[in-house]
């Protein structure tokens, strides 16, 4: 028991913030897509492709920031594909997302073998370094928990605030939500429904790609097979738990990030078999969904919109 209590320390909370970042980013992506009326099951695949693209770009250029850019770009492209399929060609949203997930898993594993000759893991590349925030990082405890991370962690906090402002305090956000809730009315009001959906799903993919690259370049500095491990689905759960609101989703992500961090530390402790510990984030996700979803109501009408 003493050993168990030992892992609950400042490092655990810092790790929780770190592990919350990719989930929060993808969850924000989920919000943009769903607010515009498109379910994005493909978050998982977009994250994974982002994680891969980031490492590949850093491998070839030596610059991890180009990796971040590549991840956002590739995520956006997959978002565009999802939008094209679901909006223009009226493909079932879950089927399209699942197709993207399978594609991502196959494509990244394939390319990993082409580039590094290994399916399991890439070579180690230049990753993002920790940048302590001046003053804040000097404060004991708090500084250690939130003051010493890679810049992506701080960025995602800014993105969360920005997402809230864009979605709920600007005319653009009003249009997005109108398109999601009542596309026909939005159309009558002169809003370009299709363009809005395209943009939102692309932003969704970019955010997922950003979350993915955090896993690869912000943490381990390598790409490994299927390294997102269902975090795209956990992000969907965080989005639902957070009632499709940016701050809510961010808060939920911290809960899941905490489970992830706890899981890693428990593994290092070796008290329980790793396989049992590894189930913790998934069981928690199911429990959270089962516990809160009844009260959660999707904000949008997800039926494909067909112009009269």
């Amino acid at each position: 028991m003493v050993e168990f209590l030992d892992i609950i320390n400042v490092g655990l909370f810092a790790a929780a913030i770190r592990m919350a970042t990719p989930i929060a980013s993808a969850a924000l992506g989920g919000i943009f897509s769903e607010r515009a009326g498109i379910i994005n099951i493909g978050l998982e695949g977009m994250m994974l492709t982002g994680a891969f693209a980031g490492v590949a770009a850093s491998f070839f250029s030596g610059n991890p920031w180009l990796g971040v850019l590549a991840a956002i770009l590739v995520g956006g492209l997959l978002g565009l594909l999802h939008a094209l399929l679901t909006v223009k060609f009226v493909v079932d949203q879950v089927v399209s997302g699942t197709g993207i997930n399978i594609f991502a898993l196959g494509f990244t594993a394939y390319m990993s073998q082409v580039i590094w000759g290994s399916r399991g893991a890439s070579e180690s590349v230049n990753g993002l370094e920790v940048v302590p925030i001046p003053v804040l990082s000097d404060i004991p405890v708090i500084g250690n928990i939130i003051g010493s991370h890679t810049p992506l962690v701080y960025l995602i906090i800014i993105v969360t605030v920005l997402s809230y402002i864009v979605l709920f305090k600007t005319p653009i956000g009003l249009r997005i939500r109108a398109v999601g809730e009542h596309p026909a009315a939005a159309d009558t009001a002169g809003i370009d429904v299709f363009r809005t959906k395209y943009l939102c799903v692309m932003v969704s993919g970019m955010l997922a790609g950003f979350g993915g690259v955090f896993l690869s370049l912000g943490h381990l500095h390598i790409f490994t097979w299927g390294m997102t491990g269902g975090r795209g689905f956990i992000a969907l759960a965080a989005m639902i738990f957070g009632q499709w609101m940016p701050f809510g989703a961010f808060g939920a992500s911290i809960l899941f990030g905490f489970a992830d961090a706890l899981q890693m530390r428990l593994q290092a402790l070796g008290l329980l078999p790793p396989q049992i510990i590894l189930t913790i984030p998934y069981v928690l996700t199911i429990a959270v969904l089962a516990g809160v979803v009844r009260k959660a109501r999707p904000p949008s009408n997800y039926k494909p919109y067909v112009k009269e």
Partner: protein
């Protein structure tokens, strides 16, 4: 030269149009599927070419590997067998409007339960032992389908997320079992072999094709019959088409959805049991290369029709068995198979995309 080319295009279009017009209407229904498969292979060829492999060599190795000789054909059907189960699983839930994307996990727990029964009751007559192990697999898979069903009905948890999460849980829990309590001596994470009395016979030595394929075919017939001719099937389809109308028509939609997911999970679990009893004869960690996902693709390519599933499963079995030969011969990474699979899913799900492409080519393939 350019002028000639320009004249050629309308003539080619005309020929294609004539060709399409002559296809009987029954066959014409599956044109989108065929075009989807061709498109997927075309895009796959681009991926191969760009990454420095010869698509022609890769594809010909794949096809000869899958159908070139009796061994290849046997292995193709071996690979097709579990896919038939998972495809029926996806299909059955889908008919009630539910997405069971967790067939992979249901297959794993079903396989493990079958292995446990197969190991435990050594000495039973085969006629009792095999059905017992199969039943254990179906029951456990059904249980794995019951959890998301009850969470959906009682608490509103979306089954896409819960079935997926449960797949991870299944992977790790069975992984724990074969690394700790049921680990066989040695380095490999696997159980000890099942008793001979629990083995499903191999029907085409030296391939791994087992009697599980008969169970798969029977299940195809049963699924078709259940969906088309029984009250349960009628209810399931009614719920899938319009839950509100089904409910006002007196159908208990909660019961229907639970049954659909439980049966779906049981089908995948039975498939896992067949794999263990027929092919591997023990539970090996990670024995499924992704049969659950294959099932989803096959259900869609098969037009969500049990008989279509049977045909599409052979195609995807060929991708798996031929893919292994292709990797051995040409060194192309096996994951190209997953890429092809995903592309087939995306193209098949987009009949409007295919219509759009055909229209661009000036071809009308159906009256609608």
């Amino acid at each position: 030269m350019a002028e000639e080319m320009r004249q050629l295009i309308p003539r080619a279009k005309q020929m294609l149009r004539g060709f399409f017009a002559r296809i009987p209407s029954e066959l014409r229904k599956i044109i989108p599927q065929i075009i989807a498969i061709i498109l997927a292979f075309l895009v796959g060829a681009i991926v191969l070419q760009v990454t420095g492999y010869s698509p022609l060599e890769a594809y010909s190795a794949l096809i000869t590997g899958a159908f070139g000789d009796v061994f290849g054909i046997g292995q193709t059907f071996t690979q097709a067998t579990p896919i038939i189960f998972t495809a029926l699983a996806f299909l059955f839930a889908f008919k009630s409007g539910l997405f069971n994307i967790g067939a992979e996990g249901q297959l794993l727990v079903g396989g493990f339960a079958a292995a446990l029964v197969g190991i435990s009751f050594a000495g039973l007559p085969t006629l009792i032992h095999v059905p017992m192990a199969l039943l254990a697999g179906a029951f456990t898979g059904g249980l794995w389908g019951f959890i998301p069903a009850i969470l959906k009905i009682k608490l509103g948890a979306h089954e896409v997320i819960t079935t997926m999460m449960l797949s991870y849980v299944a992977f790790y829990v069975t992984g724990y079992m074969v690394n700790y309590p049921y680990k066989a001596p040695g380095w490999v994470s696997q159980t000890v072999p099942i008793a001979p009395s629990a083995e499903l016979p191999r029907i085409l030595q030296p391939t791994q094709l087992s009697a599980s394929i008969f169970i798969a075919v029977i299940l195809v017939v049963l699924t078709y019959y259940t969906l088309q001719k029984t009250t349960l099937g009628y209810e399931v389809r009614a719920i899938g088409l319009n839950p509100a109308a089904a409910e006002s028509g007196g159908i208990n939609i909660k019961r229907g959805m639970i049954l659909a997911l439980v049966i779906s999970g049981a089908m995948a679990g039975l498939g896992g049991a067949g794999e263990i009893l027929g092919v591997h004869r023990r539970f090996i960690e990670g024995f499924s290369p992704g049969y659950g996902w294959d099932g989803l693709a096959v259900a869609l390519v098969g037009g969500l029709n049990p008989v279509g599933v049977l045909i599409a499963a052979v195609l995807f079995g060929a991708l798996r068995s031929g893919g292994m030969v292709m990797t051995r011969v040409t060194r192309v990474p096996l994951d190209i198979v997953s890429i092809l699979q995903a592309l087939v899913i995306l193209f098949v799900a987009a009949p409007m995309l295919i219509k759009y492409l055909l229209r661009k080519g000036g071809i009308k393939w159906s009256s609608s």
